[in-house]
């Protein structure tokens, strides 16, 4: 690292930050080769001034302390380009929503601002250049598996969009590659076919057939699908037909009667009117015993106690995915959920995508959807596939990279990656597929040698930033370090900032792409440096885009707490909290009570929460 030094530019946001922070002290922060104060970074004049100043200082890295809005981010990029400083050598610190607007006491806020700026400087000095772009050349071909209504709709729409749909009916045996360049091997009646495609849209097998039922028999349908929907069009029509036309006694036991969509609501009503009895099952309320060729069904009905009915035919698992579908998810590298459907339900996910870029599941591969719904999903998948499979050239830079000198070829990264982004072959090194990698960092945390790293934030950088954050002017209390997941806690913190709700200045935030990025050492290090608490704030289990974040965080906290204990630190000081991006009030409360003077320094954020939850 040569000694031209790091430059610091402070924007006072039109002078508004001067009232809340001691800007002079920040500009005089130690460790910078030169410093500048401006008032208008987001305006062309302001950023031009920074650029020309930066050129003069001949610094090789830059920290900009300003706000966090997209205009500021863009301004920093333009400055770096204009001044000839590599973009990875720049860092933007949000002193506005992240500091000035949320901390009430100016001296504490300034102390925190100084720490944030020092941390950014330590970070840029450890930054690594991005991996060179790789060109991915999709051919415009999309594999469509299945010949049901959803698949046909997808193929038709793909053709309209100018892509080539390879419509296939058979078993997918092998599937590898990345979005834009997949290789698929399918076994059909005619033999084995191999295809090179840019994306895959897969539907499952046709819904299960009904077992034979004779007229006048008593039938019970057991629908235990989880989660929504747990009732299918075929089940309702079968129930109606049996009750109305075959004189059967029909009982339908369900968990969730999701009948939104054309036709289902009417079908449901007609079934009820024809005498089909629908009973909702509570979790664990059902007991079924076979006795002499009959089924004795006992369940707890709220308000009516224990109810027993004897039936001749029991149709169960009508909403579980068939074996073929389960196999499909496995081959495609997508994690299944209960019932065999895939993918796992996640709040932020698009309706037809999965955690693997370029792989789309629709219709009966995804859930017991109706024909209508499958058709709509097929069309949606075709349009989504366009972005990764349309003919052309896409330049992608891998967000993770492997240091082959350190790699021991243990294949841990390959196994833990939730997005199937790590691959290798005999005689090759471990490779990260740039179009598949989503930059979560789970691989980096799992690698025993630290050989695979997130290019934007290798471990050295994260540790350097954390250490600089912990060493600085006093904050009025012991710090609480919050590891904030990019998909939940970071937006929640931004919301607190924009709403100008205050929380204690002792809260020091370390953003991470996913909680899965963290290891025990990250959690213990701040404690060793004097932190009062360490919080891992991330998504709920069901919402993690990278699937494993919250579970990893819990494991890490357990290990870290044990480690802290052996080091003579407080083992009860490390916690995990789950939030949605909109849970700013929950976060405010957590932050308020996690600091030394919980009540006094609680700030408005926690008080608002107390009011909101009272």
């Amino acid at each position: 690292m040569n000694g031209y030094g790091t430059a610091l530019a402070v924007c006072t946001c039109g002078g508004t930050l001067c009232g809340r922070l001691d800007v002079e002290r920040i500009v005089a922060a130690p460790g910078f080769a030169s410093a500048l104060v401006i008032h208008d970074l987001c305006l062309p004049a302001g950023s031009a001034r920074v650029a020309s100043w930066l050129r003069e200082t001949a610094a090789d890295s830059l920290v900009v302390a300003a706000c966090g809005v997209p205009a500021a981010v863009q301004a920093v990029v333009e400055v770096s380009r204009a001044a000839g400083v590599a973009e990875h050598r720049t860092s933007l610190v949000d002193l506005r929503e992240g500091c000035a607007w949320v901390h009430t006491q100016a001296d504490q806020a300034t102390a925190k601002a100084l720490r944030m700026v020092a941390s950014a400087a330590a970070g840029v000095r450890e930054s690594t250049p991005p991996v060179p772009d790789v060109e991915v050349r999709p051919s415009g071909r999309v594999l469509v598996v299945g010949t049901g209504p959803g698949s046909l709709a997808a193929a038709a729409r793909l053709k309209d969009l100018g892509c080539e749909a390879v419509l296939i009916s058979g078993t997918l045996e092998r599937f590898e590659g990345q979005a834009g360049e997949f290789k698929a091997r399918i076994r059909t009646d005619q033999g084995v076919e191999c295809h090179a495609v840019g994306a895959v849209i897969a539907a499952g097998d046709a819904p299960a057939r009904m077992p034979a039922v004779q007229a006048g028999q008593r039938v019970a349908f057991l629908l235990e699908g989880d989660p929504w929907p747990s009732v299918t069009e075929s089940t309702l029509s079968a129930a109606l037909h049996l009750a109305r036309d075959c004189g059967c006694r029909v009982l339908v036991l369900f968990r969730d009667m999701g009948v939104a969509g054309r036709g289902l609501e009417e079908l449901y009503r007609e079934a009820r009117g024809s005498g089909v009895t629908f009973v909702r099952m509570e979790e664990g309320s059902l007991r079924i015993v076979e006795a002499g060729g009959e089924w004795v069904v006992t369940l707890e009905v709220p308000g009516l106690g224990s109810v027993t009915e004897t039936v001749d035919v029991l149709v169960s698992g009508a909403t579980d995915a068939l074996q073929g579908t389960r196999g499909l998810a496995e081959v495609l590298g997508v994690a299944p959920r209960k019932g065999g459907w895939a993918p796992r339900e996640r709040a932020l996910l698009e309706p037809v995508a999965t955690e693997r870029n370029g792989v789309f599941l629709i219709g009966s591969a995804r859930g017991p959807y109706t024909t209508d719904q499958a058709v709509r999903q097929g069309e949606a998948a075709a349009m989504a596939a366009l972005s990764v499979a349309a003919p052309g050239v896409i330049a992608v830079s891998a967000r993770a990279s492997v240091d082959v000198e350190r790699c021991a070829f243990c294949l841990t990264c390959l196994r833990v990656c939730p997005h199937q982004a790590v691959t290798t072959a005999l005689g090759q090194t471990m490779r990260v597929l740039p179009a598949a990698c989503q930059g979560c960092g789970v691989c980096a945390a799992a690698c025993p040698a630290g050989a695979i790293q997130i290019t934007e934030s290798p471990n050295r950088r994260l540790l350097a930033e954390m250490d600089a954050l912990m060493n600085g002017p006093p904050l009025g209390g012991r710090p609480t370090v919050v590891f904030a997941c990019a998909n939940s806690a970071v937006p929640a913190l931004q919301a607190l900032g924009r709403l100008r709700l205050s929380y204690p200045a002792q809260v020091l935030v370390v953003p991470v792409p996913c909680l899965g990025r963290l290891e025990a050492v990250h959690c213990v290090r701040p404690l060793a440096a004097g932190a009062r608490r360490v919080l891992l704030c991330g998504c709920y289990d069901r919402s993690c885009e990278h699937l494993v974040g919250p579970a990893t965080a819990r494991r890490v906290v357990e290990r870290a707490s044990a480690l802290a204990g052996t080091l003579g630190l407080d083992p009860g000081a490390i916690h995990v909290a789950s939030l949605a991006p909109v849970d700013w009030h929950k976060l405010g409360q957590i932050l308020g009570v996690s600091c030394d003077d919980g009540d006094r320094n609680g700030g408005e954020a926690s008080k608002v929460t107390a009011h909101a939850t009272a």
């Binding site: 006694r249 009820r272 009117g273 009895t277 009905v301 009516l304």
Partner: protein
């Protein structure tokens, strides 16, 4: 909440019973999907042992023993608020009536003998005079229930204020009313 006596009863369903109630009431009980609006609207619901929506579910399932042991149908006053609000257009009050009928048809004591007696005294006065007569109704009911001692002060106060007529009002075509009663009796009603 089930009536205490009913809790001990086995909850075996009798699928053939629901059609009986459907025919008797003329309402498609199966249409009910358990939203609870009837319970929410019913002014008597807080006093009922089996809430109207639960009773509908019990009828659907064919829980004959439990339903016939409930006092809820006897508390129904037929205000029909439930019927007005039911999203499926079910007249829950008529279903309650059908349940009462089924209880009477089965024979034996009904869950609320006092209420049944009150109904019977009401009908008696209508058959006799062509019009309801509170005087005979309350006196007869009170005597039959053995409540004369408690009711006498109230009755006396009502009479003094001109609220309780001793002499009934006879309508002109009492014979036709009696014919009505005979016709219903022939068809099996009570």
């Amino acid at each position: 909440m089930l009536p205490r006596e009913a809790r001990a009863l086995p909850g075996r369903t009798d699928p053939a019973w629901a059609p009986v109630i459907e025919t008797a009431s003329g309402e498609r009980v199966g249409l009910c999907f358990g939203c609870g609006i009837c319970t929410g609207s019913c002014p008597l619901a807080p006093a009922m042992d089996m809430l109207p929506s639960r009773l509908m579910k019990a009828v659907q399932l064919g829980l004959k023993e439990r339903v016939l042991k409930a006092t809820a149908p006897y508390l129904c006053v037929g205000c029909e608020t439930c019927a007005v609000r039911c999203p499926n257009g079910i007249d829950v009050a008529r279903v309650m009536d059908a349940v009462r009928q089924a209880g009477l048809a089965r024979g034996g004591p009904v869950p609320r003998v006092d209420i049944q007696r009150f109904h019977q005294w009401f009908l008696r006065t209508v058959r006799l005079f062509g019009r309801a007569h509170e005087g005979l109704l309350s006196a007869g009911f009170s005597l039959q229930q053995g409540r004369l001692r408690e009711d006498l002060p109230t009755g006396w106060a009502l009479m003094r204020h001109g609220r309780l007529a001793l002499w009934p009002h006879f309508i002109r075509r009492r014979r036709e009313v009696r014919r009505l009663f005979r016709a219903i009796g022939q068809r099996g009603g009570r």
